[in-house]
Symmetry: C2
Subunit: 399 residues, 2 copies
Amino acid sequence: MNYKSLFFLLMTVLTGEICLAQSNQRMAEGDFKTTATTQQGKQYPQVNSDGRVRVSISAPNALKVQLDIGGKKYDLVKDDKGVWTGESAPQDEGFHYYQLNIDGASVPDPGSLYYYGASRWGSGIEIPAKDQDFYALKSVPHGELRENYYFSKTSNSVRHAYIYTPPGYDKNNAQRYPVLYLQHGMGENETGWGNQGYTARIMDNLIADGKAVPFIIVMENSSVNFGGGPRSPRPDAAPGQAVPPAANANAPRGPMGGMNITGQFERILLDDLIPFVESNYRVIPDQAHRAMAGLSMGGMQTRAIVIANPDKFSYVGMFSSGTFTPSEIKDIDAFKKNVKVVFMSFGGREGGSARIGAAAEEWNKVGIKGISYVSPETAHEWQSWRRSLHEFAPLIFKN
Amino acid sequence: MNYKSLFFLLMTVLTGEICLAQSNQRMAEGDFKTTATTQQGKQYPQVNSDGRVRVSISAPNALKVQLDIGGKKYDLVKDDKGVWTGESAPQDEGFHYYQLNIDGASVPDPGSLYYYGASRWGSGIEIPAKDQDFYALKSVPHGELRENYYFSKTSNSVRHAYIYTPPGYDKNNAQRYPVLYLQHGMGENETGWGNQGYTARIMDNLIADGKAVPFIIVMENSSVNFGGGPRSPRPDAAPGQAVPPAANANAPRGPMGGMNITGQFERILLDDLIPFVESNYRVIPDQAHRAMAGLSMGGMQTRAIVIANPDKFSYVGMFSSGTFTPSEIKDIDAFKKNVKVVFMSFGGREGGSARIGAAAEEWNKVGIKGISYVSPETAHEWQSWRRSLHEFAPLIFKN
């Protein structure tokens, strides 16, 4: 091959690649479509294969309209009919909260579905992920997501919980099931795991594939009466009775400053919620068949509650919640008789992801299965937590 | 008593009444507070004892902000911090959809909870009603609202239904229950009765008071594939197979012009949903223990389905859905062997309310219990339908 031929070959390849790149870009620009979080019948919001979010809203008299997502505001452009349209930069795969800003007013996008997070009901957007199949709605046997009201003596009020029962729960009247208590993060509530977390779909699909044993999942609101008081009142304290701080002086405090990480939730969980579940559902009411996990604040609460109550849960999951090591357990010999798995995860874009591998090793060294998992290319967001549940669920209740 | 004394007495009474009226008005102006549909932690929207709705939103650069409720737009007023605030005229007791308008953009109020109706997820506001106790959340035994996915052969897709099970359903394994199929209105979906309809609370309270027998309620989306085609394809038609109009030429058509009032829903209900419920819940699977009711379009669908399938349901409820008379039934002697109650209701502000009393009488004359109910001072809205369910539920499954 002479230089001239080589030159032409090189040019052909380069031109081809440039054309291909241009074509990919054109395709990405052109392939915007509605997504799982777009209201049925609405044309926007849309997402393209780059992960860009496109919104559009009629606001004929507005001076400025912006899309506010991922901590950045993107200016929309007005057409001659008064409709404003525009796109964000590419977003990570998975689920993100967002809002619109119209002349300084932050409002939900009228085209999106609404989710609770960031301490408000508001817009959410789903960027289709390469691994979305694990939470796709399939024609497999389906469990149920059940809305429950129950009376809590601790809070002296009727409280609200969602309970996932696995496929066949109502037909297998002789079978009793293990239970996972699964907590949301700060600024979220008991609806998060069932809505944007896709808990039921993840479990239905894992069970259909034979990858997880059927178990019940209980989702309650753990943002209850935080404060600087004692970590948990004595179980024998009457409602409203003051409890001296000394009562739980040796209980660990969470990593959130001086804040009481579990608030009133520890007592609600142990004294009201677990008894409610165990007397109203066909569960196996012992430590070996009880797990607790949570994301972010919910994982910190999980750790604090497990440390303070080492005889309650056998499986521990912390999703984007820091690390947990055997050194935090007083009586490790007693602990390892009953606790089978400590699972820690982070999104790959989170700082904590570097530390959980070593922490998991520490658990393995003392004879408790330690597992770490890093969700590729996700941050402190729901795609990390969906994947964490998908990794955690197959590990539990198999002994 | 002389004239002078009488004059003074009269003046005192009149002045007192004027003062009282002024005081009431001042109190109403001053007693705005958040309501059941305000997001937890948000200060607005608020409602006062006159039923006025007050909204408030920060929109420092907006030129005009309005509250859009009950078919009217109310201008808000901007303060020196850029916060816009204003009130509506008094609204009827109960639940209303609404939105904000910011420089021409119609958006949900970021302070409200969101409901599906008027063909969109958006803001709703609850005006506390004098009779709100019947749907209050109380410390009584609670049923469950269960989210179900099931496969429909008719639509060849996985479909979504909410199913209310009464208190004790899971504990009374030997008991089987009757079932009410309960439909939403046009522009609404399967979430309406469970959310703004307060179905679970209404039933929990009625059952706790011994006023209704425990039964299951199934809520599915009946807005399926409307069109001008035959009212219902033959049950033996393969999916996608064309069905000649003659197949159901004698089937009645709904009152909505040439529109196919039941769409694909009749076949989904009869061929997929009822079989799913009867094989997955402990129900009594016969006509005597099956009821159907609906609001607005859902009541029209109920009538059309009952007329076309007189052997399926024993109790019929039409809430704000027109009238139903024995003349619409081909074989009234066969019909009255199996159908026990025909219930028709309207809001008092709706035109139809004048006609249902006579229609109910016609049913009584042929030997079927006809009941009419008019909801005081409500229109074509959810307070009429909550009250209708509350009236209808005690009448059914008691034979």
